[in-house]
Symmetry: C2
């Protein structure tokens, strides 16, 4: 057996799972195809990691991965392309080799849906944000545009309107549920049936241009078009998804397959670092029980 536990994904959920596994004396590997920290790396300023009033995403990612490395969690920068989960011995196929283990934790996260317009990448973290809960308070008293027409976009627009000087909601169509549309109507949010064409600025965002040609002077742009959980690997390995297309788990982070757990954004909970670490810890402690009973 190569490992007790293989963890797929090195964001906060995966790193925390690793920390908990090795402290329990398990041999644990984290497989990361990009960079350790996951989406946290995109956060320029984090104000809701309990105990740290201000921390950058880069710094918190480094602290968490250093913590895991220091305790003996192993890492491989590679992609898991196939999982064999049915038996007591689980197989994890990487691009160049195959590993065996007793338990697998899926912490594959999700991909934020980008606006795919000019200026988006350039101003990411400098006025462009993908998380109103995380970054909303940084735009207190400023003008912002929220992009998207779903439940999350409308809720975020109404929330940000409470603290911004002016909030625009830009969407081809508002598809949010009725109660949210009611809240939107009662709010001060200006709804524009339009779509984003470009984000402009110098050092920070200074405005957006819409498809209609209209220009808005804003300091912040929230791209609230949801995220797509990274579930390809889970799906093709027989792990069941829930009705919202996230990996289905119970409060013990167990999936439908014994010895297979999931944690973090891929499970569709509140997409926050605080919840990801909680789920990672739970998954690891349950995986420990599974490994020792096997």
């Amino acid at each position: 057996m190569d490992y007790d536990v293989v963890i797929i994904g090195g964001g906060p959920a995966g790193l925390t799972a690793g920390i908990y596994c090795v402290r329990r004396g398990l041999k644990a590997l984290v497989v990361e195809r990009g960079s350790l920290g996951g989406k946290v790396l995109m956060a320029s300023e984090i104000e809701n990691w309990p105990g740290d009033r201000h921390v950058t995403g880069e710094e918190l990612s480094k602290r968490m991965s250093d913590h895991a490395k220091g305790l003996g969690v192993e890492f491989v920068y590679n992609e898991a392309i196939m999982l064999g989960l049915a038996g007591d011995v689980k197989n994890v196929t990487l691009r160049d080799r195959e590993l065996s283990c007793k338990a697998v934790i899926l912490a594959t996260g999700g991909q934020t849906v980008k606006a795919s317009v000019k200026g988006e990448e350039e101003f990411s973290g400098r006025g462009v944000s993908y998380c109103a809960t995380c970054d909303g308070p940084l735009f207190k008293g400023k003008a912002v545009a929220v992009v998207g027409g779903g439940n999350m976009a409308v809720e975020d627009a109404v929330y940000i309107d409470d603290l911004s000087s002016k909030t625009y909601l830009v969407a081809d169509e508002i598809k949010a549920e009725e109660s949210l549309q009611e809240r939107l109507k009662k709010s001060g949010v200006e709804v524009l049936e339009d779509s984003l064409s470009e984000i402009v600025g110098s050092e920070f965002v200074e405005g957006v241009r819409l498809k209609s040609g209209k220009d808005l002077e804003v300091n912040g742009v929230f791209i609230c078009q949801g995220s797509t959980p990274s579930t390809e690997l889970a799906k093709q390995s027989g792990v069941e998804l829930d009705e919202r297309s996230f990996i289905g788990v119970n409060r013990d982070m167990e999936t439908n397959i014994p010895g297979v757990y999931a944690a973090g954004d891929v499970t569709g909970g509140v997409p926050q670092i605080a919840t990801a670490v909680g789920e990672g810890a739970t998954a690891a402690l349950r995986a420990y029980v599974h490994v020792k009973q096997g």
Copy 2:
């Protein structure tokens, strides 16, 4: 309305809930009858708070409560003795006054069951521990006694035996489930049908004396007799408990009463700081939706 959200309990779950509430623009109060930080304060050394390789319980509690205070969470050092939860307006009765709010988060934690023997308090944090997951690795290569006969005590003893030089399990009776008893038999743990009478040492724990008069030379004593969730207030207010006598919640931390949420140890999840903060964040964000829809 005095507050949007009143949070009962100022441990990691309650403090995180406060942080998330005020960042969402809600007026939030934390009611704490003891000290901010809750059971975390009892931890001399924490090694599993992701991103901090070593931190004391006192330091982490202070960082979290300073964070909450800095953001504008309000605190009152008092006891909630009655809750009126049925209506849209919730009432929280403190010892000296009554408060109204739109949502309540119960983060009342639990009381660790003590051994109640001489030396226990004196050596708490200096060899006496109540959490094997948290403190087990600190006793690598040392001799330890685990006290308790339930599932958790047996699991902890088997786990600690992997890293200790010698592990004793002291219990009047082993009441753990069959599969754990099997693991116990296969382990190197020495089971003593006896009970603890005294913990001795100078600066740190040096041994224990049992009721039979037998002395054990150990450096660590794990009191693993479980904890009792603090649910009196919840019960008398109509909040339903689950079959294990913890507050019953779903993954959104909703209880059976609209606008009432629970988070942290009182919900019976893995009793870890990492999970408590995740539940606190989730409860706060759900409470926000409830407050704004109300």
